[in-house]
C-alpha cells in the first residue's frame, strides 16, 4: 500500500490541479488503504444512496464509487399510491441503474450487503465477495418492526398488505381493491411518528377514494391512526370534503385509532381498548426502524434509528460510516425521498472534503413533499433547513403547506408540478 497524499488525492479525484495545490501548499497526510484511488462504497441504491453516489462522482470524478443494491430495478415509493389508485402502471415508477453506471461511472453491484466490519473497513456481500472502503455510506431505507402490532408479521402482510415498500406489495393491495365489491370497506392503519412519508397514508386514502368514486361509489375508507394529528391535515380534510364527501373516516388516536392486534382469518383489527374493526381490505402500515443492515452493523441506537453527526452524516457509533435517508436521525427533517436526496448531497460533499483534506462547506438541506388529493388536485409542503447547535432545524417563517383558500387552477398546477418533482428527483438520482 503506497502512501497517499492530499496532493495525489486531489489530482486523482479531479478536484483541482497540481499547480493550484502548489499555490495553496496543502499539507501531506491522507492515506488511502485501498491503493491509489480513494474508494467509497454505498449500500442501498434508493433516494439517499443513488443520489449520494452520483454526487460524489460529480464532485470528485477520481474517486471510485461502488453502489451495492439488492434489486436490479428501483421501484419508487413516491407515486406508488397512484398505482394503488389505478392511475399509473407499476412500469411507470420502475427505473434502471444503467445511466448511473454509464454516465457517472458508478460501479453498480446487484447484491445484498450482509455484514459491515467497521474496524477492518470491509463490507461482505451475499455472493461471498468482500469490498474494502475508505468511506462507507449506508442508505438502506427502513425495516418493519414485525409483531409490534400483535400477529402482524411478514406472513400476515401477504393477507393485509403494508404496501410501504413499493413492488409486489403495491400490486397486491391494488388487486385486493379491484377484487372488492362495491359497498365494501377498506381500513388503512397509520403508524405513530416517526415513519417514512408522513403524508403518505392520507394521500393513499385520497387515491383509493378517487378509484371508488368512479368504480365503487358505495364503498368506504376508514383510517385508524396512532396519532392525533398528521401532515397537511387541514389541506387533506378540506380535500376529502370537496372531492369525496362522506367517503373517508379518520379515527384519531384519542378516538380509538391505535391498532394493537390483527386477525387475518377473521379479517379484523383490534384497537387499544379492545374494540374491533372489520373490513374487506385491510392495509396495515406497521411501525418501522432503520434498515436491517444498519441494525446488524450496530449503527442504530435504542430508538431503532441511526444517530449521526448531522453536518456530515457520519455515524456517531462507527467512524468512516455515514448513514443517510430514512435510517438516519436527521434532526427536524422528515423521512422522505426529497430529504434523503438532500442528505445524500450534503454527505457527498462531506465525504469528498474529508478524503481530500478540504474544508466542508456549510451544509444546506431542503424537504418538499407533494401529495395528490385527486389526479388533478395537488398539495405540497416545503421546508429549508440549516445546521444549528441542536442539529438540523427548519428555518422559521419559511416553507409550510400550500395555501388554504385557492382555486382549482392552483390545485391543478400543484398536481402538474408534483409530476415535475417526481421526474426531476428521479433524474437527480439516476441520470
Amino acid at each position: 500500500m503506497s502512501k497517499y497524499t492530499r496532493r495525489d488525492f486531489v489530482k486523482a479525484a479531479g478536484v483541482a490541479t497540481a499547480s493550484a495545490i502548489g499555490i495553496l501548499g496543502w499539507p501531506i497526510g491522507v492515506q488511502a488503504k485501498t491503493g491509489n484511488r480513494s474508494k467509497v462504497v454505498v449500500i442501498g441504491g434508493g433516494y439517499g444512496g443513488a443520489t449520494c453516489a452520483k454526487y460524489i462522482r460529480k464532485l470528485a470524478p477520481g474517486v471510485d464509487v461502488t453502489l451495492v443494491e439488492q434489486n436490479k430495478e428501483f421501484i419508487t415509493c413516491p407515486f406508488s399510491n397512484t398505482v394503488i389508485g389505478g392511475i399509473k402502471r407499476i412500469e411507470e415508477i420502475t427505473h434502471k441503474y444503467d445511466k448511473l453506471k454509464q454516465r457517472h461511472g458508478v460501479d453498480v453491484i446487484h447484491d445484498l450487503a450482509t455484514e459491515i466490519d467497521a474496524t477492518k473497513k470491509t463490507v461482505k456481500l451475499k455472493s461471498g465477495k468482500t469490498l474494502g472502503y475508505d468511506k462507507l455510506i449506508v442508505s438502506p431505507g427502513i425495516e418493519f418492526v414485525w409483531n409490534k402490532i400483535a400477529a402482524y408479521d411478514e406472513k400476515a402482510s401477504e393477507i393485509f398488505p403494508h404496501a410501504w415498500k413499493a413492488g409486489p406489495q403495491t400490486l397486491l393491495l391494488r388487486r385486493q381493491l379491484e377484487g372488492m365489491k362495491d359497498g365494501g370497506t377498506v381500513i388503512i392503519t397509520a403508524p405513530a411518528d416517526p415513519y417514512r412519508c408522513p403524508p403518505g397514508p392520507y394521500e393513499r386514502a385520497c387515491l383509493i377514494a378517487n378509484y371508488f368514486k368512479q368504480h365503487k361509489p358505495k364503498s368506504k375508507i376508514i383510517i385508524l391512526d396512532a396519532k392525533d394529528k398528521f401532515s397537511k391535515q387541514p389541506l387533506f380534510i378540506n380535500g376529502w370534503e370537496t372531492l369525496y364527501p362522506k367517503m373517508i373516516d379518520w379515527v384519531s388516536k384519542s378516538a380509538g385509532g391505535t391498532v394493537v392486534r390483527v386477525d387475518t382469518k377473521a379479517k379484523l383489527v383490534e384497537n387499544d381498548t379492545g374494540f374491533t374493526y372489520e373490513a374487506d381490505v385491510i392495509n396495515v402500515i406497521p411501525p418501522h426502524q432503520a434498515g436491517a443492515i444498519a441494525q446488524k452493523a450496530g449503527l442504530a441506537d435504542k430508538s431503532g434509528w441511526c444517530p449521526v453527526n448531522q453536518r456530515t452524516f457520519e455515524s456517531t457509533l462507527h467512524k468512516d460510516v455515514h448513514v443517510i435517508g430514512d435510517s438516519a436521525l436527521a434532526g427536524e427533517m422528515p423521512k422522505s425521498a426529497y430529504a434523503a436526496g438532500s442528505q445524500g448531497k450534503v454527505c457527498a460533499a462531506a465525504v469528498v472534503a474529508e478524503l481530500g483534506g478540504l474544508n466542508m462547506p456549510e451544509p444546506s438541506y431542503v424537504n418538499t413533499c407533494y401529495s395528490f388529493v385527486g389526479p388533478e388536485y395537488g398539495i405540497s409542503v416545503a421546508a429549508v433547513y440549516r445546521i444549528t447547535d441542536k442539529g438540523i432545524a427548519a428555518v422559521k417563517d419559511a416553507g409550510g403547506g400550500s395555501p388554504k383558500d385557492v382555486d382549482d387552477t392552483f390545485r391543478n398546477m400543484e398536481a402538474v408540478y408534483a409530476q415535475g418533482w417526481y421526474d426531476s428527483t428521479v433524474a437527480d438520482m439516476f441520470e
Partner: protein
C-alpha cells in the same frame, strides 16, 4: 455581464475556502462550496444543474441577475408562485446571491460546457 457573474462566483466561493483560488482552473473545485451546497438542494425540483426533465421550469442557462430577480420577486410576493414564494423565504439576501451566481454559471451542461 460576464465579469459580473465571475464576481459573484468568486464571492460565493470565498465561503467555501480553497475553491476561490482554484475556481478559474477546474470545474469541480467550485462544486465544493457553500454556493453549491445551497444550489444542489434546488435540483430535487429543477433537476441536476437546473436542467429539468419535466413540468417544473429549467433554470440553467439563465443569467445570475435573472435568477436573483426572480427569487426576490417570489419572496416578496410580487411574482405569482405555487411554491417558490414559500421556499425562498428560507434564504437570506446573501444566500440568494450565492445561489443565483452558481446557477448563472451553468449552460448546456448536457454536453459538458459551462458558461
Amino acid at each position: 455581464m460576464k465579469s459580473c457573474n465571475l464576481n459573484k462566483r468568486l464571492r460565493s466561493c470565498l465561503i467555501g475556502t480553497a475553491c476561490a483560488v482554484l475556481l478559474p482552473v477546474i470545474a469541480q473545485a467550485d462544486e465544493l462550496s457553500r454556493a453549491a451546497m445551497l444550489s444542489y438542494t434546488c435540483a430535487g425540483c429543477h433537476g441536476t444543474n437546473g436542467i429539468s426533465p419535466g413540468s417544473i421550469p429549467s433554470i440553467y442557462c439563465k443569467t445570475a441577475d435573472t435568477i436573483e430577480k426572480a427569487l426576490k420577486e417570489y419572496r416578496d410576493g410580487t411574482r405569482f408562485s405555487t411554491v417558490m414564494g414559500r421556499h425562498v423565504k428560507g434564504y437570506t439576501d446573501d444566500e440568494i446571491q450565492l445561489i443565483a451566481g452558481f446557477f448563472g454559471t451553468y449552460c448546456n451542461e448536457k454536453i459538458g460546457i459551462k458558461k
